[in-house]
């Protein structure tokens, strides 16, 4: 069947504009969805592992009782296939040549870190490097500030207890240095085997033994099952969940990516639908002829089905080919951010959405108009027959909408997203119905004439069917694009608000009550005022309504807050970024009650009035829950699970004070002076962590922008598909107008005006619908507060009007450059 086969070949297809649009739309859809899904799944894995690197392991076991755990526990872990490591943390004085300094020592075994890397410098001017092992025996790595404080140089020796260790590196960042308030600065890192020889650790010294575990989730879980009954209250088992402070930002980025992907799917589906309908219309003559020549309806159906399958294969293969370099690029960016190689891993399950997208677009959008081709009457070959009224397309449209929103739902896993977008679309179509009615009612009376405006309006009226469906598709496209731009904007604004350039990057911990004022004025004098100072009491939640808390809380809820000491505080005013969700904040002179953080309250199943008992040292404090409040964990400020009123349950308890503040890089030397003046206050430097987060946010922003560009490209394809659909009609009209003596300038002006009106209309509708969708979305998906963003989206109607006007002008080109006679012949 050489001729018939050729009639159906993809190579020939490619020469047809409508087929090109269908294929381009399919390729873009598959590429976008595949790229995003691959990247999202990689990001997911990376998030977990970078969260793990906050612990330098998958799990940590801390012994706060100053005693190592039995060797058998580690042996058991090894037997269960887990990797293990050890560290010992303690504070001590170290001595340089002349000076001495209180430092926080972390002595690590060879295995440390099991996850993440240590960043060091071999000398003060050297480059930073990442290593995955701590200092060897006999060596020590120190915080660069110590060089100055102790008047030391790299290569000289540092006296730790009875032992002299050689300074072989400067410690820039340790993976688990993050937010652990118990860490004492400045840091000195040494080998764990040297600890005994220092003689620093005596009976009763304050020392923490920390054990690291890494392995697959099942093994970790089964080890914990074994371990749990053996744990004492002073043992704290910690998982990655505690380290994910900053991963929340990235989770939102991931959601944005998913949203972007969903919108890309919608756009591509619209493009496929428009183009394939157009294609089907253009095939009617061929089909009529084939029928006349004796091909049966089934034969026609089979022919086009085969063709559709070929498109599908082309779209999928092409899309995946485009996706690979894009994905590679994103991975490359990610690995730069994380400063470690990220594997180029093709998770097959991440390709499923892309394949489904292609299939659904093909069968829910491209197939229906093509299927109806078999109903084209053969008589058409003799005389053109009444075309489709659009009524036949209605059931198809319903199927298509259900299919595509099902797809989006499956893909983003958010019913809220589907409902918001559907709501926006419904609003849009409603508004469009109104506009259509107005168009017919008002424009009917306008008559053409020598005036471009009139001609444009008459044009709109004459093409009202095509105009309305064009406006519908443009508006939908613009709505989806605007939604994405809006979400991106609010996402970035949120991040900026959350991590401004002067976000607190140092914590001061362990400030004795009597030193609070001096500390405050120390920084005041240096122009770096402290944020609010909070008292902090370490205590454990032990009873709930008189029952031991470990019994009342169900076992499968692994509530880490119960496994360790909590930071308790008292305060009179609710911090700005906290929000009461239940109950009421403490009144003026209230002395009873406790305010609980919302997430923890949820996990423990707490409600107002529940009695909580805390064990603080040897004391017990019992208070009823009077309010539940949300906390911004990623605010880089001290945050507390439990807050008491001033002079409430905590007043008698031994408290130290904590605060955070912003210290620019060039003023870091002030920390040395501070440490000398307040040797017992711990300084927690998280500036490197913050820098990293900011860098990650920057890069993720870039990724988001890249995706946005991809999606806007999809939008353009849709627009092109729609406009080119009426290309021939318009050219014929233009030619006729010229033949009848219309001046070129008039023709150009009225056409551009008509398209500008179309684009402007669609733009306004799309933007309004997008604002509505985003309004709904923000509450459910991005936890943001809604603001109108007119300044962000205002350009959209303008740009779409201008672009369409230019597009209209461009379409007219052949009409203007050739003699009308020739043109009519050619367009016949």
């Amino acid at each position: 069947m050489a001729a018939a086969k050729k009639l159906m070949s993809v190579r020939r297809d490619w020469r047809e504009r409508d087929v090109r649009v269908v294929l381009a739309a399919l390729i873009i859809a598959v590429a976008t969805v595949a790229t995003i899904a691959l990247f999202a799944s990689q990001l997911q894995r990376t998030l977990v592992s970078s969260a793990s690197s906050f612990l330098a392991a998958d799990r940590q076991l801390e012994a706060e009782n100053g005693r190592p755990i039995p060797d058998a526990w580690l042996q058991e872990a090894a037997d269960q296939g887990l990797k293990t490591g050890r560290m010992v943390e303690f504070s001590t004085m170290v001595f340089g040549d002349e000076n001495f300094q209180l430092v926080s020592v972390k002595a690590v075994s060879n295995e440390y870190p099991l996850r993440g890397d240590i960043e060091i410098q071999r000398n003060p001017t050297g480059t930073r490097e990442l290593v995955n092992q701590g200092p060897g025996p006999g060596e020590v790595w120190i915080n660069p500030r110590l060089l100055r404080l102790l008047d030391l140089e790299v290569g000289e020796s540092l006296e730790v207890g009875n032992l002299n260790l050689t300074v072989s590196g400067l410690l820039i960042r340790e993976p688990d240095g993050g937010f652990r308030l118990s860490a004492l600065a400045p840091r000195v890192m040494m080998h764990v085997d040297d600890v005994a020889a220092t003689g620093v650790i005596q009976e009763g010294s304050r020392v923490e033994y920390v054990y690291l575990f890494a392995g697959d989730e099942a093994a970790l879980e089964s080890y914990y099952q074994w371990l749990e009954p053996r744990l004492e209250p002073s043992h704290e088992w910690a998982g990655v969940r505690d380290g994910e402070t900053f991963s929340r930002s990235l989770e939102r980025a991931e959601r944005f990516l998913l949203l972007g992907g969903s919108l890309a799917v919608l756009l591509a589906a619209v493009a496929v639908a428009v183009a394939s309908r157009q294609y089907a219309l253009s095939q009617r003559d061929t089909v009529a002829l084939l029928k006349t020549l004796g091909l049966s309806g089934a034969g026609i159906g089979g022919l086009y089905l085969k063709r559709l399958a070929l498109w599908g294969v082309t779209g999928i293969v092409g899309g995946l080919l485009v996706a690979m370099p894009l994905y590679w690029l994103l991975i490359h960016m990610l690995s730069q951010v994380l400063e470690r190689p990220v594997e180029f891993q093709l998770d097959p399950s991440a390709l499923v959405p892309a394949l489904l997208t292609a299939l659904v677009s093909l069968f829910a959008f491209a197939y229906p108009p093509v299927r109806r081709l078999r109903n084209v009457p053969a008589m058409r070959v003799l005389r053109s027959q009444p075309g489709e009224t659009g009524r036949e397309a209605l059931p198809d449209m319903i199927i298509a909408i259900v299919a595509v929103f099902g797809l989006v739902w499956m893909y983003a896993g958010e019913l809220a997203l589907v409902v918001s977008l559907l709501g926006g679309l419904a609003l849009l179509l409603g508004a469009l119905g109104l506009v259509g009615w107005l168009l017919v009612a008002t424009l009917r009376k306008v008559r053409g004439g020598g005036n471009a405006w009139r001609l444009a309006l008459v044009g709109l009226y004459r093409h009202r069917r095509a105009s309305l469906s064009q406006i519908a598709v443009f508006a939908m496209t613009l709505m989806l694009a605007a939604t994405l731009i809006l979400v991106r904007t609010s996402l970035l604004t949120d991040w900026q608000a959350q991590l401004p350039d002067d976000a607190p990057n140092h914590f001061l911990i362990n400030i004795a009550p009597e030193a609070v004022e001096d500390v405050d004025s120390f920084w005041q004098e240096r122009g770096q005022p402290l944020d609010k100072l909070y008292p902090m009491v370490r205590g454990r939640l032990t009873e709930l309504n008189g029952q031991p808390v470990k019994e009342t809380v169900s076992k499968d809820e692994n509530v880490n807050a119960l496994n360790r000491e909590l930071n308790l505080t008292w305060m009179s005013a609710l911090p700005d970024d906290n929000e009461i969700v239940e109950g009421a904040w403490f009144g003026e002179n209230q002395k009873e009650g406790v305010s609980v953080e919302a997430e923890l309250a949820g996990k423990l199943g707490l409600s107002l009035g529940d009695e909580l008992t805390f064990t603080i040292g040897s004391e017990k404090v019992t208070e009823a829950v009077t309010s539940i409040r949300t906390v911004q964990w990623d605010s880089m400020k001290p945050n507390f699970y439990m807050a008491f009123p001033p002079e409430g349950g905590l007043t008698e308890m031994p408290a130290t004070w904590i605060t955070s503040f912003y210290l620019p890089k060039d003023k870091k030397d002030a920390l040395n002076e501070f440490s000398r003046q307040f040797p017992t206050v711990s300084v927690l430097e998280i500036d490197h962590v913050i820098e990293r987060i900011q860098e990650i946010v920057r890069q993720v922003t870039q990724a988001i922008e890249a995706i946005l560009a991809l999606i806007l490209a999809a939008a353009l394809v849709v627009m092109a598909a729609v406009v080119s659909a009426t290309l021939q009609d318009r050219q014929r009209e233009g030619a006729l107008l010229r033949t009848l003596g219309g001046r070129q300038r008039l023709l150009v002006r009225s056409t551009m005006l008509e398209f500008a009106l179309l684009g402007g209309f669609a733009g306004v509708l799309g933007v309004v619908a997008a604002e509505a969708a985003v309004w709904a979305l923000q509450f459910r998906m991005f936890e943001g507060t809604f603001q109108w963003h007119w300044h962000v989206v205002l350009p959209i109607p303008i740009v779409s009007a201008v672009v369409l006007a230019l597009f209209g002008r461009w379409q007219l080109r052949p009409v203007l450059s050739v003699s009308p006679m020739l043109l009519l012949r050619r367009l016949e």
Binding site: A4, L7, T286, L289, G294, S296, G297, M379, V381
Partner: protein, 242 residues
């Protein structure tokens, strides 16, 4: 020969028998009667012209005769099969094997070459060695040198010759032509109609041709006139035919 299987066993029956054919279409609120009470019989091997003014219903009648459409009333019997009793697919099959067409607007597929356009119906009818047959036909219509040209590269007259080659390629029993010279200038039209008549004679095909070209009509065995949907056969023409 392939053709033999297509011949109705009762080869004495007329090729085409039309009985009291009426066709109406509904236009908005009205029904329009386009054809009224058309009755005619066409024997095998005859050539018949249907002449009438534009809008008189010629094309509609041709479409009904060829089974491209079904009438509102009356019957069309084509080579022994009553068309309105066949399903659409059965009619398609009938056309594939026994019916050829030539159109006013040529109706070649622009994507295919001349050769492929001629091969297409042969392939659809499942005939053996379609390419060889298509080449023969194109050579016969004088386009042996233009096999690989697409319709766009051919003049109107050449396109119509390709269409004629296509129509005769599958050796149809009956050929329908709707104003085959309508889009051509006089001289080209003359050449095309010569070709059409010649091939028709060579193959012994039954020819039903719609035209408003009196000269072309005069070259057929019989002539019918149609006016406002009513068909009549002038006496003179009838006598000539008998």
């Amino acid at each position: 020969m392939n053709q033999m299987t297509n011949v109705n066993p009762d080869s004495q029956s007329p090729m085409l028998r039309v009985d009291n054919l009426t066709h109406r279409v509904s236009v908005e609120t009205d029904t329009l009667t386009i054809l009224q009470g058309v009755t005619l019989e066409i024997n095998r091997g005859e050539s018949v012209a249907i002449v009438g003014r534009s809008g008189s219903g010629k094309t509609t009648l041709l479409g009904l005769l060829a089974g491209l459409d079904t009438p509102s009333e009356g019957t069309v019997e084509l080579d022994g099969s009553v068309i309105s009793k066949l399903s659409e697919d059965e009619r398609a099959k009938l056309r594939a094997h026994r019916v050829g067409f030539v159109f006013q607007s040529f109706q070649l597929l622009p994507a295919l070459t001349a050769l492929e356009n001629v091969m297409l119906p042969l392939e659809l009818a499942g005939m053996a060695s379609p390419e060889k047959r298509a080449r023969e036909l194109l050579e016969r219509v004088g386009l042996g040198e233009r096999l690989t040209h697409t319709p766009r590269q051919l003049s109107g007259g050449e396109q119509q010759r390709v269409a004629i080659a296509r129509a005769f390629a599958s050796e149809p029993l009956i050929l329908f032509a709707d104003e085959p010279t309508g889009n051509l200038d006089n001289r080209t039209g003359q050449a095309v109609s010569d070709l059409l008549m010649a091939l028709n004679r060579e193959q012994g095909t039954t020819l039903v041709m719609v035209t408003h070209d009196e000269h072309l009509a005069a070259r057929c065995n019989r002539q019918f006139h149609i006016e406002a949907g009513v068909l009549s056969e002038p006496e003179a023409a009838q006598e000539m035919a008998h």
